[in-house]
Symmetry: C2
Subunit: 274 residues, 2 copies
């Protein structure tokens, strides 16, 4: 069975739209874009499109890609102290000459609707529930909720390589009382863990590494990232064979941007209502 | 075999002392104590004793236990901006009327030698190595290093209940490429994980829960917390039987304060040298 994030995203956008339409003053989202690469531009256009679809005002603030670290910090500070601006996002990645972490640290945590600031991220580690949630981990949990896949008290395995998106997710799952095993490419006996898993979340960038032999028939497989080899996209799991095996699995291929952005819009409305 | 933290602590204190003795200007540590409970006082006295033993100047700043949140924030701000004060610690727990997390958040992260501030803690999550390390997780890693217990690529199990000390440790172990399973009291088949573990770190507060049947003979057991029932102290592991089984195990009973404080002094010297 396919866990179709498109259906989940559509449901969320419609719910948000129904809630926002009757509001006299619409919520507004400010976004900083450093005009540097096509993937940032494509991503920010997605955000704009979906914001406008659900009647969220979207204001894009663009800066030249040669902007210095100091000038960018000054621009962020202006937003931080401007009482008319309630929250804003900064589209990542930033140009190479910019220290990205320092920029993230400079955002006023109370205006950080992406929930990227270390103070906000650390709240995820130490608390069961936070006010807003980082968008990528949030969609994994939302997707499971939609399909009635219980996470509490389940054996969950995360297989990761180098990106950090899974880390807040890992901490959120621990707080949900999951028994969580975090495996990596050096794990001695990975089958031991994957065969015992109720749910596997993989972000290993290892083409079709997760085969039917490594899982059992009840395992839910959530494949959050992919590799590109010779212009062809590969996922971590052997989708074609696993889907025939009746496991629940996320659709491959597929871009989950729409669902990630839906989580951002959820945060925006939550922040607006506060 | 007993993993004796006393030997490790002694070694570290002697190393620090040898390094500090020849220094013309000694490192100094400032500590805030809210005069409220006997365990805080006992703990801060340990810190003072060990600081003085290794020739670190120790200055205790005490405040009345009725100090208001705002006054305490003002006092911390004075330390934050005072150029003569390089770093300081705040002895926890704080009185009940004080919002502890807000106080921790108010410390200048660059003067936070306990490494408690969310910005510092989050660095542990996203980075492999941080400049300073939080003291409790640091001693677990130091103890293993002393006894040549390799953590990298090992199967490690953490069994926790409600405290948060283990969370930075979990994140540090993940960054060390351990395959880490985090179990809790609701884990469906905990033996499955403990029997496959190279190392078990337990902070469950469940008296003698971890018996010889639940582990194998090569498993290292690190028992970091205890329960008190009818004035008697119980550890999570059945120490008497496990030790006869030739497993490597932390000494029970035993207070690891001296080793935790050794880690604080290590941070202080590191900060001083910077």
């Amino acid at each position: 069975m396919i866990l179709d994030w498109k259906i989940v995203a559509e449901k969320i956008y419609n719910e948000l739209k129904n809630e926002i339409l009757p509001l006299e003053k619409k919520p507004k989202l400010w976004a900083i874009l450093i005009w540097n690469n096509s993937s940032s531009i494509r991503y920010i256009k997605q955000k704009q499109k979906w914001a406008e679809y659900i009647w969220v005002d979207f204001e894009l603030l663009t800066f030249d890609e040669n902007i210095s670290q100091i000038s960018l910090l000054e621009e962020i500070n202006k937003l931080n102290i401007d009482e008319n601006i309630s929250w804003f996002i900064i589209q990542l990645p930033l140009p190479k000459h910019i220290n990205e972490q320092e920029i993230i640290n400079s955002i006023n945590p109370e205006k950080d609707v992406d929930w990227f600031h270390p103070i906000n991220q650390w709240k995820i580690v130490i608390w069961d529930e936070t006010w807003l949630k980082p968008c990528t981990p949030a969609w994994v949990i939302e997707l499971c909720k939609f399909y009635n896949i219980d996470l509490i008290w389940k054996n969950i395995v995360i297989i990761w390589r180098s990106n950090i998106v899974w880390k807040p997710l890992a901490n959120m799952l621990i707080n949900m009382q999951a028994t969580l095993t975090i495996c990596n490419s050096k794990t001695k006996n990975i089958d031991f863990y994957t065969k015992n898993a109720d749910i596997i979340i993989t972000a290993m960038w290892s083409p079709e590494f997760l085969t039917t032999e490594k899982i059992n028939k009840d395992t839910v497989v959530i494949d959050v990232w992919f590799s590109v080899i010779d212009w062809k996209i590969y996922w971590d799991c052997d989708f074609e064979n696993i889907i025939q095996n009746w496991n629940k699995i996320t659709p491959v291929p597929g871009w989950v941007w729409a669902l990630t952005v839906a989580m951002l819009m959820k945060n925006t409305l939550k922040a607006y209502k506060k």
